[in-house]
Structure formats: structure tokens, C-alpha cells
């Protein structure tokens, strides 16, 4: 098993690590049994994701996919962001080892959850 240079880059220098205070949406996914837990925070303005940060407990692939998705979503409309799939994230990282495609490629799911969370909160406020 070997990671791509891009995966190692995002693992070594992850982008946008941290939390967003008063985030508009938070997506949490994973569990300790499978070894990966990710928490993604998004800030939304005018239907557009203007900021994203993450915290991840997980292997190299889990951290790299988390980092990559925060880059991918920035300045995307919610509709555009909703189209980001596991495949999109993996491709942006020049691929992932086969056994990591499902277990550690959680970022896309976390993003969908964060968007759902945002929409739920918005409905409540309306």
C-alpha cells in the first residue's frame, strides 16, 4: 500500500484544520471501531460555502481527504458542493489505495451531512 504524493502532501500539511465558531453547518461521521472520525464545519453566505474547516481522527487517507474537501468546497454553491462525491475527492488526490476507498474516504459524506445540517438550521430559523 502506498499513498500518492498528493495524499502525503495533504497529510503532512493539511489545509484548514480547526473549528469554525458559530458554523452554519456541522457534519460528523465515522466511529472509533472503523478507526476514522471526521468533523467538518462550514460557513455559508448567499447560498455559497465561504469557509470550511475540519478535525479528523484517522489514518493518512482520512486526514488527506478531509483536507482536500475543505479546498474543494470553498466558494462553491450548495448545489455544486452537493455533487462532490467520494470519487471526486479521491481523484483530486490522484487516487487512494483500494482498501481506503470506502473506510477512510469519509469527507464527502461529512460534507453532505454538514449541508443537511445547514439546511435544517435554516428551516428552523425561517
Amino acid at each position: 500500500m502506498a499513498y500518492s504524493i498528493k495524499v502525503m502532501d495533504h497529510f503532512t500539511n493539511p489545509r484548514n484544520v480547526g473549528e469554525i465558531e458559530n458554523a452554519d453547518g456541522i457534519g460528523e461521521i465515522g466511529n472509533p471501531v472503523c478507526g476514522d472520525i471526521m468533523k467538518l464545519y462550514i460557513k455559508v453566505q448567499d447560498n455559497r460555502i465561504v469557509d470550511a474547516k475540519f478535525k479528523t481522527f484517522g489514518c493518512g487517507a482520512a486526514i488527506a481527504t478531509s483536507s482536500m474537501i475543505t479546498e474543494l468546497v470553498k466558494n462553491k454553491t450548495l448545489e455544486e458542493a452537493e455533487k462532490i462525491s467520494k470519487q471526486t475527492v479521491a481523484e483530486a488526490l490522484d487516487g487512494l489505495p483500494a482498501n481506503k476507498m470506502h473506510c477512510s474516504n469519509l469527507a464527502a459524506d461529512a460534507l453532505q451531512k454538514a449541508i443537511e445540517d445547514y439546511k435544517r438550521k435554516k428551516e428552523k430559523n425561517v
Binding site: N31, V33, G35, D36, F57, N99, K100
Partner: protein
């Protein structure tokens, strides 16, 4: 950059004296040990000389040692071979839940073939309880397989106590001694085991060679059929260079056992003490004393194992983890799970496997680079909240 190897439980480098001993058998002494001519006789001498050396490791007769392709084959032969040869007597086998996969999977295979397997639980240190063990032996129990020391946590089983119970009840006892061989004694005159498996590359010998001790009189069926090699218990032309290397490795292990024990104990003790001073929220998995001195399994709360391995690798330090990602499976280590360790803590474990080439400078170096790594990863972790030091 420094390059520090701390994964000796996975494999070890071939000792220079071992390589020296092997080389003639890869060159001029290339004969087939079954041949009658001088080339064959020469190979045969190397084969039998190696057998004597391995026998000394177990304090048994050379005729009780059989060469195989490694630890996995030895485990398979012990378990399936005894099961098939004794199936008329009974179909019950006992093992522990923290065995190596070579044992566990052999047992699971037998389960499909109609055998009944009891997978004994272990306590929080990884010990099999002798009372519980004794209670599980039935009239139809034919074999027990309990490892000498565990590959992930290093816990040493009370083998003598366990083997005396089976001896009394007339049940065969096999031990997977792959991780203990050459590190701590396994004297078959003192400990009444019937079968034991070892591997060459775990004791500074070559890969692709192993051995099995089979006490005289044990009923066992071969798995590989063919020629009359290894007294018809393991057919196939003998891997003479490998076997010669294993013999030399066994000789060196026995010769240096006490020195190495002290060396490794001092390294691992210093290592754990230093780490404990520098990093909060770490815990030792397994028993602090009744373990092989070379192995330390440590959990770093809030940080997943593979992310530590990758980070240490970038600093030139090679370690392993029993956790999911490295082994390609999703579940946390079956060993740590059997100890009742919380999944998050199990996924945060690293196995430091020290060996004869390691020094106190290695200890210092790792203790220097590791705190930063853990701190960085913890700062990214959603499940870690800094404890007060």
C-alpha cells in the same frame, strides 16, 4: 536522516554470521540432500547440523525437529496435522482468542470440516486463565494451541501451568513460539509441550524457512505429500540454505539470549519511561512485566495509529500498529479487542518492536521526534481534549 528500525516483530535483518553460514549452500554446496553422491551428502550434513542446532533451542532430540517454510506452515501442520490424525479420538480443539491468524484461521478451517473449536477469552493483560482453561478440556478434546508470547503485546502465557494440565489429561499441546523463540527459553524437558512452531526470519535468519518441534510419539498427519523428506512428515526438497541459516540463527539466539534479554529490557524500559515523561495520555497495552522485553504496545489517546506510523516514517523511524489501517482490515486489532480495550484506544496503538541492532541513541531520537508528532495529530483530532499535565 536517521533510519531506525523498530518493527522486529514483523521481521528481522539476517545476521551477518547467518549469511556467512548460508552462502556456501547457495554456491558450491548446492546439492539435493536426498542425493547419494558427494554433493548430496554435503547438503545432508548441513541439514542435519542445522537440525541439531535448532534442537538445542528446545532442548529436545534432533529427530524431533522438522523443517518447514515458516511459522505459518508450522502452525498449519501442527493444528491440521494433529486434528486429522486424531479425529477418531475426538473433534474438540482449544485455542485462545489472541492467537496469530495462522492459528486462528487453521482452527476456523477445521470448524468447517466438522471440528469444534473453543476460542478462550483472555484477561485485560492477555493471559489465558489456567482454571478456565482446565474447565474447557473435555473427553473429546484432542489438541490445545496457545501461543508462547503474543506478537502484538508481548504477553507471556503461563505455558508451564497450562501444558501440565493437558499432560495430565492426555491432550496434545501446541504452542506458536514464533515471537518467543530465541528470546526466552522454551525447554521441552521442563515444559511438557508436544508441538512448537518457529520461524527463521523473526530470529535474524532468512525468510521462507521455519521449523516445528514434534515430541516423539505424537500422532500427526502430513499436509504435504510426496517424497520421504523430513521423515515423511513434510515432503519437498529441503531449502538447505534457508535451513542452514535458521540453524545458525538458532545457535546465535541461544548463545546471546541473556545478553539480548538485558539489552532489550533496558531499551524498552528507558523508552517507556521517557515517553511517559514527555507525552500525556499514553497507556501500555499488555502486562508491564510478564512480557517479552522487546515489544512495547502503546496507545496514544486521540490519535489514530496509521497517522503516527506515517509521521514517524517521515522521520526515518519504522514502527507498526495492530490497528485497522495497516493490516487493511477495518476492525481494530483482534488482540486488543480481546483484552477489552476501548476501540478508540485500540485504534490509537503503536507496536514498538526493538531488536539487537537498536541502541539507546535510537531511544533518545524517537523520544525526541514523537512528542511533536503526537501533539500535531492531537491538535487535529475531534476526539481529543488535552489533559492537564
Amino acid at each position: 536522516m536517521r533510519s531506525i528500525y523498530l518493527d522486529h516483530n514483523a521481521t528481522t535483518p539476517v545476521h551477518s554470521e547467518v549469511l556467512e553460514e548460508m552462502l556456501p549452500y547457495l554456491k558450491e554446496k548446492f546439492g539435493n540432500a536426498s542425493s547419494i553422491h558427494s554433493f548430496g551428502r554435503e547438503a545432508k550434513v548441513g541439514l542435519e547440523y542445522a537440525r541439531e542446532k535448532v534442537a538445542k533451542l528446545f532442548n529436545c532430540a534432533p529427530s524431533e525437529i522438522y523443517f518447514t517454510s515458516g511459522g505459518t506452515e508450522s502452525d498449519n501442520l501442527a493444528i491440521k496435522g494433529v486434528a486429522f490424525a486424531n479425529r477418531r479420538k475426538g473433534k474438540h480443539i482449544i485455542t485462545s482468542s489472541i492467537e496469530h491468524h495462522a492459528v486462528l484461521e487453521s482452527c476456523k478451517y477445521l470448524q468447517k470440516e466438522g471440528f469444534e473449536i473453543t476460542f478462550l477469552p483472555v484477561d485485560k493483560y492477555g493471559f489465558v486463565d489456567p482454571d478456565e482453561f482446565g474447565k474447557n478440556i473435555r473427553n473429546d478434546t484432542i489438541l490445545v494451541s496457545i501461543m508462547h508470547t503474543n506478537n502484538e503485546i508481548g504477553t507471556i502465557q503461563p505455558l508451564n501451568e497450562l501444558a501440565n494440565i493437558t499432560k495430565e489429561k492426555g491432550v496434545y499441546f501446541h504452542t506458536d513460539a514464533v515471537q518467543s523463540a530465541g528470546k526466552i527459553p522454551l525447554d521441552t524437558e521442563k515444559i511438557p509441550i508436544d508441538l512448537a512452531s518457529i520461524s527463521g526470519h523473526k530470529i535474524y535468519g532468512p525468510k521462507g524457512v521455519g521449523a516445528i518441534y514434534i515430541r516423539k510419539g505424537v500422532r500427526i498427519t502430513p499436509l504435504a505429500h510426496g517424497g520421504h523428506h523430513e521423515r515423511s512428515r513434510r515432503a519437498g526438497t529441503e531449502n538447505i540454505p534457508g535451513i542452514v541459516g535458521l540453524g545458525k540463527a538458532a545457535e546465535i539466539a541461544l548463545r546471546d539470549m541473556e545478553d539480548q534479554y538485558r539489552h532489550l529490557k533496558s531499551l524498552t524500559e528507558a523508552f517507556f519511561k521517557k515517553l511517559h515523561e514527555k507525552i500525556v495520555d499514553i497507556s501500555l497495552n499488555g502486562h508491564s512485566e510478564k512480557r517479552i522485553p522487546s515489544t512495547l504496545n502503546i496507545s496514544f489517546k486521540g490519535v489514530e495509529g496509521e497517522s503516527i506510523i506515517l509521521s514517524l516514517d517521515m522521520k526515518g523511524v519504522a514502527v507498526a500498529s495492530g490497528s485497522a489501517c495497516t493490516s487493511g482490515s477495518l476492525e481494530p486489532s483482534h488482540v486488543l479487542s480481546a483484552l477489552g480495550i476501548d476501540p478508540a484506544i485500540a485504534q490509537s496503538s503503536i507496536r514498538f518492536g526493538f531488536g539487537r541492532g537498536n541502541t539507546m541513541e535510537d531511544v533518545d531520537y524517537v523520544c525526541e521526534v514523537l512528542p511533536e508528532i503526537i501533539e500535531r495529530l492531537r491538535s487535529m483530532s475531534p476526539i481529543y481534549t488535552q489533559a492537564k499535565k
